[in-house]
């Protein structure tokens, strides 16, 4: 290349550098080895892929937990610790992570991550994707309440203070009968709470049996959204009426996360040991994955 050509390419190079600095985001870094737990959150994508979140790593499995692949995550957020993962419906490349850093999002399966927290304040303890809309997301900030985003996480609006007590997990359901598009279920220290997603007031979602109260996990079978599951130290509870009544299904151990494969109804539960269990009979029995 002649010197005059080099000089002509300088403005283009400068432009590229500016664009990279402004819009590139943070590169994700993959974890090494395999997931070992503890698991802080679980999601099953509409494709059937399982997303397993540890405090500092994110993993995916295409074979219901038989094998795992690391999804690169932003190092800074990983050091602060992840608390929740959400995966918008029918957006296979898109994942959101929540934690004390707020919310970060990738649109390329972890290649790059950007902070999307306009309107959010404080740390995010739970995330949930809308059961039907690819653009609507929900986040729980412990210091303020439940936020809603209608633009895929770019901006957030505080909707209400959330249910009473400590909210540990959140899930959205398209169960009919809501005044808006569906319902939110929350796993709390006082059991399961429920609200229409118009945020018209949280109320207890029935009473869990067997004297148990605190739950750490909640999930909905979107094939039949009246079917709700909750899990905690006392085991896994199931409801066939949208959370009005419950029964104890099984005691696989202290359940810290639950997720449902929306295409098959297969349930996944995270426990201290083994790390991940699978149930193919609606939570009545479990076996380790892998």
């Amino acid at each position: 290349m002649q010197v005059p050509d080099m000089i002509q390419s300088v403005p283009l190079l400068l432009l590229l550098l500016v664009l990279a600095a402004c819009g590139g985001g943070e590169a994700g870094v993959p974890a090494e080895g395999q997931p070992e737990g503890p698991v802080v959150d679980l999601v099953v994508r509409s494709s059937g892929d399982v997303l397993l979140l540890e405090e500092d790593a994110l993993w995916t499995s295409r074979d219901h937990g038989a094998s795992w692949e690391s999804i690169p995550v932003p190092e800074g957020a990983a050091r602060e610790g992840f608390s929740s993962v959400a995966a918008p419906k029918q957006r296979p490349e898109e994942i959101l992570l929540g934690g004390s850093f707020g919310v970060v999002r990738t649109e390329d399966r972890g290649g790059t991550w950007r902070t999307f927290d306009e309107g959010l304040s404080g740390s995010v303890a739970a995330l949930a994707a809308h059961a039907d809309s690819v653009h609507i997301l929900f986040a729980y900030g412990a210091s303020e309440g439940v936020f809603r985003s209608e633009d895929s996480g770019r901006s957030w609006q505080l909707m209400d203070g959330g249910p009473p007590g400590d909210l540990r997990a959140l899930v959205h359901s398209n169960l009919p009968g809501s005044m808006n598009t569906g319902w939110l279920y929350a796993a709390t220290e006082s059991g399961v709470a429920r609200a229409m997603d118009c945020f018209c007031g949280w109320r207890p979602s029935g009473e869990l049996t067997d004297g148990a109260e605190a739950v750490s996990a909640v999930t909905v079978d979107l094939r039949r959204p009246e079917r709700v599951y909750a899990g905690g130290a006392a085991g896994v509870f199931g409801s066939e009426d949208g959370g009005a009544t419950w029964r104890l299904l099984s005691r696989p151990g202290h359940v810290t996360a639950l997720a449902t494969d929306g295409s098959s109804g297969t349930l996944f539960a995270a426990t201290p040991d083994p790390m991940l269990l699978v149930s193919r009979d609606g939570g009545e029995s479990w076996e380790p994955t892998g």
């Binding site: 169960l175 009919p176 009968g177 809501s178 005044m179 808006n180 118009c198 945020f199 018209c200 007031g201 949280w202 109320r203 207890p204 949208g242 009005a244």
Partner: protein
Amino acid sequence: MTDGLRWLLPGLVLVVAACDRERAANAAQGADPATLAHGEKLYTELCASCHGQSGEGAPDWQEQQMTAMGEMPPPPHDSAGHTWRHSDALLYRIVEQGWRDPFNTTERLTMPPFGDTLDPWEIRAVIEYLKTLWTPDQRRFQAAESRGAPYPDAALEP
């Protein structure tokens, strides 16, 4: 056509267009005093016995617990409630057709339908009166929710 008529017709078109804009503006920004007064009158006659004279709801509504009959108590419509979270279209439909909480143990419409009692404009008048019980922020939120879900056209005129 005479010269006078030639100028009258365009003038009439402009007046009609201005009136349409005024009606649309009223619908968008809130109702006129006469509509609000009629809405308050209807609310007092038909709604206050359940939702409170000032829209404060049933005495125990905040507990969010089923009544002895297995039904959620009537909620408030003032700024303490959640009515402001819903679009004009949804509020209109609930007043017209009634509603029941899907978790009620009874099957009846605990919010009865008023579509046979009130004409469309009167349903709107009641809802517009409720908006006077909200804060400015709540009215703005509700207006934004209503942009894509407005009143039906039949409700815009008496």
